[in-house]
């Protein structure tokens, strides 16, 4: 038998306009945790989707336990003992934990599903691998951490001995991440092999045995973790030396611009999402909101911008209440908003870039007069922004859909910063972008701050918050647990706060 459980040779996968995987070789040993490292868009998920049978490679061969195989669909992968936990969870929300785990391989009694047997099996697996879940809970009612355990159980239930985990820690607190790493180590002790996708260097150092680095669809190298260090990995990943910190002068905070007092609000399902949140942002500073996904960040941004009603408390902008006002009224008072999802909120993808640049100002002169749109003014405006913010687009009339993600985001940012707001709310402004674009955006945020604007930065990336924000408010279950100075804190402290525990000896609040 071969030394490698997985061997991928010369895998090439092309998508329209891009070679996502370019002759990639990957070899995974039995019983190891093999990390796959690369920037956003490097081609990691694509490679693993090929291994799992979701995509077919254009070229290349795959050997599993020494046998050459054609993985035509996930069924084949399952049969070969390959299981995958996807970057975006593949769980059916209204189903129970048990239903999700047995789906597609249900134990039967006659024609019906044997739920008793299914539950027993789930319990047994859950105990054996230390993955605590409630078999009868509905997915939509359980935490993200538990959802992830369900995903891992799904693969174990199917008897997988090769586990692919695609960015499993993106949604976890540092503490939860440590737990997950312990689970993974437990799994390899039980004889499983794990491929761990991530672009977080620290996790690799803590968990992996071997690491393969991918850049722009190509393998840069495979190294044992013992023989490398974060700086080297970063350089491999990005292709140059990386400055981990953006240059910025200390903030010169001015008067309070935004004041949030005891605000409560419900989420889409009618469950409380904000539970009396309070904080303030001053002119000339960047307040970062850190927290694990799903603790009310989205709802917070929505109540601030008028997209969601508050059920209690108040929001003051320069001393005047703006809560429960329509989005336009709030925008007119000088609040600009870079939304967390540029495709859902930020852009009308089938509108031209020109139209998107006036998406919230089309009704004002010079863009419209007496109810009619003024095309020349709209075009001139767009051309100006495209120039200033270096948005790469063939023309003003090109639909936003045809731009790359980074350029779409630049367009949104250009539009919002150009409004010259008193308060700039930036939600996940760099999600899914490459390093160059991220640097550009961070610089723009700091520039806005230096011009005396108040900036609220909501991000799931701790690094981003630590680098860009001046003060950091940590949100947990719809409340601010603590506000700390960015220069005086570290990932560990933030991690504890993000998990809801207040460090000893510290008083909460501002």
């Amino acid at each position: 038998m071969s030394e490698y459980v997985v061997e991928m040779r010369g895998i090439t996968k092309r998508f329209p306009g891009i070679v996502a995987n370019d002759r990639i070789d990957l070899r995974v040993r039995r019983g190891e945790i093999h990390a796959l490292l690369g920037e956003n868009g490097a081609g990691k998920s694509t490679l693993m989707n090929i291994l799992f049978g979701l995509y077919q490679p254009d070229e290349g061969e795959i050997y599993i336990k020494g046998q050459k195989v054609a993985i035509t669909d996930p069924n084949v992968a399952n049969a070969l003992g390959i299981g995958m936990v996807h970057q975006h969870f593949m769980l059916v929300e209204p189903f129970t934990v048990t239903e999700n785990i047995v789906l597609g391989a249900e134990p039967r009694r006659g024609a019906t599903i044997d739920y008793a047997a299914a539950e027993a099996k789930v319990r047994q697996l859950s105990e054996r691998y230390g993955l605590k879940v409630d078999p009868r809970a509905k997915i939509r009612d359980i935490s993200v951490g538990m959802q992830q355990r369900v995903e891992i159980l799904k693969t174990l239930y199917r008897g997988a001995d090769i586990l692919i985990l695609d960015e499993p820690t993106a949604v976890l607190t540092p503490q939860e991440t440590r737990e997950l790493i312990a689970i993974m180590k437990n799994l390899v002790r039980e004889g499983k092999s794990i491929i761990l996708i991530t672009h977080k260097l620290k996790e690799i150092m803590a968990a992996a045995d071997t690491v393969t680095v991918i850049r722009r669809g190509k393998v840069v190298g495979t190294v044992p973790v013992r023989e490398t260090n974060p700086d080297q990995l970063a350089a491999m990943m990005v292709g140059r030396e990386v400055a981990f910190r953006v240059e910025k002068a200390p903030a010169k905070p001015g008067p309070v611009v935004l004041e949030v007092r005891n605000v409560t609000a419900l989420d889409n399902r009618g469950v409380p999402a904000l539970n009396g949140i309070s904080f303030e942002v001053r002119a000339g500073e960047i307040l970062g909101i850190a927290g694990v996904d799903g603790n009310g960040q989205s709802e917070l941004v929505e109540v601030l911008t008028g997209l969601r009603k508050v059920t209690g408390g108040e929001i003051l902008l320069n001393g005047e209440p703006i809560h429960n006002r329509p989005p336009r009224a709030i925008a007119e008072r000088g609040v600009a908003h870079i939304p967390e999802d540029r495709h859902k909120r930020g852009l009308v993808l089938d509108f031209s870039i020109g139209e998107n640049m006036v998406l919230s100002t089309y009704h004002k002169p010079p863009f419209s007069q007496k109810g009619l749109l003024r095309h020349e003014a709209i075009v001139a405006h767009a051309e100006k922004l495209i120039r200033e913010f270096d948005v790469r687009t063939p023309s003003v009339d090109t639909p936003a859909r045809a731009l790359s993600g980074g350029n779409q985001q630049k367009a949104v940012i250009a539009r919002e910063i150009d409004k010259n707001p008193v308060l700039l709310i930036a939600a996940q402004p760099t999600r899914g972008l490459d390093v160059g674009a991220i640097e550009f955006i961070h610089r723009r945020l700091i520039e806005a701050r230096d011009q005396g604007k108040a900036v609220l930065l909501v991000s799931l990336e701790l690094d981003e918050i630590l680098n860009v924000a001046d003060r950091i408010a940590v949100i947990y279950e719809g409340r601010i647990v603590d506000v700390v100075d960015a220069r005086a804190t570290d990932e560990n402290e933030l991690g504890l706060l993000m998990a809801g525990s207040r460090p000893q000896g510290k008083e909460g609040g501002q």
Partner: protein
Amino acid sequence: MNGTDRRSLQTRFMGLFLKESALVPAVSVVLGLAVGALLMLAGGYDPVAAYGALYEGVFGNLYNFGETIRQVTPLIFTGLSVAFAFRTGLFNIGAEGQFLVGSLAAVWVVVAVDAPAGVHALLALLAGGLAGALWGVVPGYLKAKRGVHEVITTIMMNWIALYLTNYLIRAYLKADAERSVEIRPSASLQADWLSALFDDARIHLGILLALLALVAYYVVLWKTRWGFELRAVGLNPYAAEYAGMDVSRSIVSAMMASGFLAGLGGAAEALGVYGYMAISAIFPGYGFDGIAVALLGGNTPLGILLGAVLFGALNYGANTMQRLADVPIELIRVVIALVIFFVAASGVVRTLVGLFRRTKGKGGVTDGVAS
């Protein structure tokens, strides 16, 4: 002229019409007619004679041509109505009912209110449009505020319109026949000079109004603030909300505008063709055909015009097809349904075109050798 030249000319000419956006509708029409021909063969009819009669029924004489335009007129209105809603992301199956209440309101206003010629017709048209708009408010409001799917509500509103207009005519407007009393001539859209041009066909001024509506459709959607909002809501309601647009209001106002167009069509039909409104157990069908028109025309002004002309001609020509070739008129319904189906399932069309091109490509070689 040698073969290569001819072919390149031919491809260039075809290219004019077979731009990617027009390819699917064009092929769909051909496919629809082809399947219709197969059905006729299966039924023992002569498709050549039938389509010949169809052509005759449209272009055969001035009268038929004028009547075809008469038939096209309401389809432009209902096609615009459905398309306007589509542009805002709404599927208005209710043009049928909006058309009916538009007819009734127009007739009623003419009967109840006196006014000088010209003004009278304008009043009546306005009333028809407003009644249609009112009929659009209900589904629009329910969609915006309660999330009720407009497809179901508009269908229900159609039935309500049918029975309610019957009731109102019977209760308040009934003449000695099963219809409303006749309108005063001061509000008629019939124009002798126009009819005279077409051998006394019932073509009426409504066609000019319809062409105006086409222009208005374009201007409103692409040149005004309101249109910008409506299109944004239609393409991405979340982004529209983010940008400060009032999505609910847009939905309601779009349904109203859509209803207005259909109601206007109904009013024009009542004032231009009949001069009264009949009590009827069945729908006139213009609203449903409007869906076909909008789909085929890709919701663009020019496309809607072409779609209305095509379906109006098919529908009107079907009468002659029946008279001269004995083919049941339902055949044309089948053809129209197939055209919509192929447009909707454009993948089917593309696949077929792909197959065709491949075989055609091979054929082209022998062709070249032969010539």
